[in-house]
C-alpha cells in the first residue's frame, strides 16, 4: 500500500467517522486537538485502523505521535 493510499484512507475515516472538518486536515495539525480526542477516544482510532489496515496499535505506538503526519508515518511503518 503506498503512502498516498494510506493518507487518503485515514483522511476519509477522520471525516466520516470522527467528524473532522475537511479543511482542518493538514499534515502539521495536532492529532489530538484536531480530532478533539480524549485519551479514551484513542480506542476508536485503534479500531478504525484495524478495520481499514488490519494492523493492531497499542498505547506505545502513540507515544511519539503528535501531528497527523506522525500518524500517517506510524501507519505506513505498521503496514509495511
Amino acid at each position: 500500500m503506498n503512502k498516498e493510499v494510506i493518507v487518503e484512507k485515514i483522511n476519509y475515516f477522520l471525516v466520516d467517522e470522527f467528524e473532522v472538518e475537511t479543511e482542518d486536515i493538514e499534515p502539521r495539525a495536532n492529532l489530538k486537538e484536531t480530532l478533539e480526542l480524549d485519551s479514551l477516544d484513542f480506542v476508536d482510532l485503534v479500531v478504525a485502523i484495524e478495520a481499514n489496515f488490519g494492523v493492531k496499535l497499542t498505547g506505545e505506538d502513540f507515544v511519539n505521535v503528535i501531528t497527523l503526519q506522525d500518524f500517517y508515518d506510524l501507519i505506513e511503518k505498521k503496514v509495511a
Binding site: D38, L40, V43, D44, V46, V47
Partner: protein, 250 residues
C-alpha cells in the same frame, strides 16, 4: 425503518460454577436479557450444573474454561471465543473468582500470599483488561467486582485476602473514573459471612452472635445486588462499594 445490527449480548461471570458465582449466574438469567458466559477453572461438572440451571430458566449460556491467574490462558480463551462469536459483545463482567488461604500472617507461606493476590487482584486485571477495549468501543458496560468485608475492615487470619480485596476496591474506584464517560460503570460488592463452600467450615452458631442480623447471608442476597448493578437501572452508580453483611460492618 433503519435496521440496526443487533449484537449478541453476554454477561461473563468468573468462578461461576459454584457458590456466589452460581447464584449470580442464576439471578442474572432471571432478571436480565443476557446470555450467560460461565467461567470455571477446575470444576467442569459444577459449571455444567450452573449452565443447566440457567437453561432451565429459558436463558442461553455457555461454559468457558480459563484460569484467571494465567493471562495467556485468559487471552487465548477470549480470542477463541470472539473468533467463534463474531457478533457477540460481553457487556457485563462479574469478577467473582476468588480463593482463601487463611492463617496467621506470622506463619503465612509466600505461596499462600501470592496465590490469593493472584486470583483476586491479578485475576481482575487479566480478565477485565482483556475485554475493556471492546467494551469501550461498545460505549456501554457493567463491571462488578466481588470483594469482601475483609477488604474494607481487614480480617485477622486473612491478611492476604484482605489485602487482595482492598486492592480490588482501589482498582474499582480508579477504573470507574477512567471509563465513566463511555457509560461503563465499575462497582464492587462486599459480602460478609455468606453460606458457601468458602464459609462451610466456619461455625455459624458461634459467629452469628457477632452479626446484627444474627445469621449468615444467602448467596442469593448477594446475587440480587449484583443483578441490580449489572442492569441499566444502576446507570449512575459507579466507583461504589456495596456492603452485604447483615450489619456487621458499615
Amino acid at each position: 425503518m433503519e435496521e440496526k445490527k443487533v449484537k449478541n449480548k453476554y454477561a461473563l461471570i468468573t468462578g461461576g460454577s459454584r457458590g456466589i458465582g452460581r447464584a449470580v449466574c442464576i439471578q442474572l438469567a432471571k432478571d436480565l436479557d443476557y446470555n450467560l458466559l460461565i467461567n470455571y477453572n477446575g470444576n467442569k461438572e459444577a459449571a455444567k450444573q450452573t449452565l443447566k440451571e440457567v437453561e432451565a430458566l429459558g436463558r442461553k449460556g455457555e461454559i468457558i474454561q480459563f484460569d484467571v491467574t494465567d493471562a495467556d490462558s485468559v487471552n487465548k480463551a477470549f480470542d477463541v471465543w470472539h473468533e467463534t462469536n463474531k457478533d457477540a459483545i460481553i457487556e457485563v463482567i462479574v469478577n467473582n473468582a476468588g480463593i482463601t488461604k487463611d492463617g496467621m500472617f506470622m506463619w503465612m507461606k509466600p505461596e499462600d500470599w501470592h496465590s490469593v493476590i493472584n486470583t483476586s487482584l491479578n485475576g481482575f486485571y487479566n480478565v477485565t483488561n482483556a475485554l475493556i477495549q471492546k467494551m469501550l468501543v461498545n460505549k456501554y458496560g457493567r463491571i462488578i467486582n466481588m470483594v469482601s468485608v475483609s477488604g474494607l475492615k481487614g480480617t485477622p487470619g486473612q491478611v492476604n485476602y484482605s489485602a487482595a480485596k482492598a486492592a480490588v476496591i482501589g482498582a474499582t474506584k480508579a477504573l470507574a473514573q477512567e471509563v465513566a464517560k463511555r457509560n461503563i460503570t465499575v462497582n464492587a460488592v462486599a459480602p460478609g459471612f455468606i453460606k458457601s463452600d468458602m464459609t462451610a467450615e466456619l461455625n455459624e452458631n458461634e459467629l452469628k452472635k457477632m452479626i446484627p442480623a444474627n445469621r449468615f447471608g444467602e448467596a442469593e442476597e448477594v446475587a440480587h445486588v449484583v443483578s441490580f448493578l449489572a442492569s441499566s437501572k444502576a446507570s449512575y452508580i459507579t466507583g461504589e462499594v456495596i456492603n452485604i453483611n447483615g450489619g456487621i460492618y458499615s
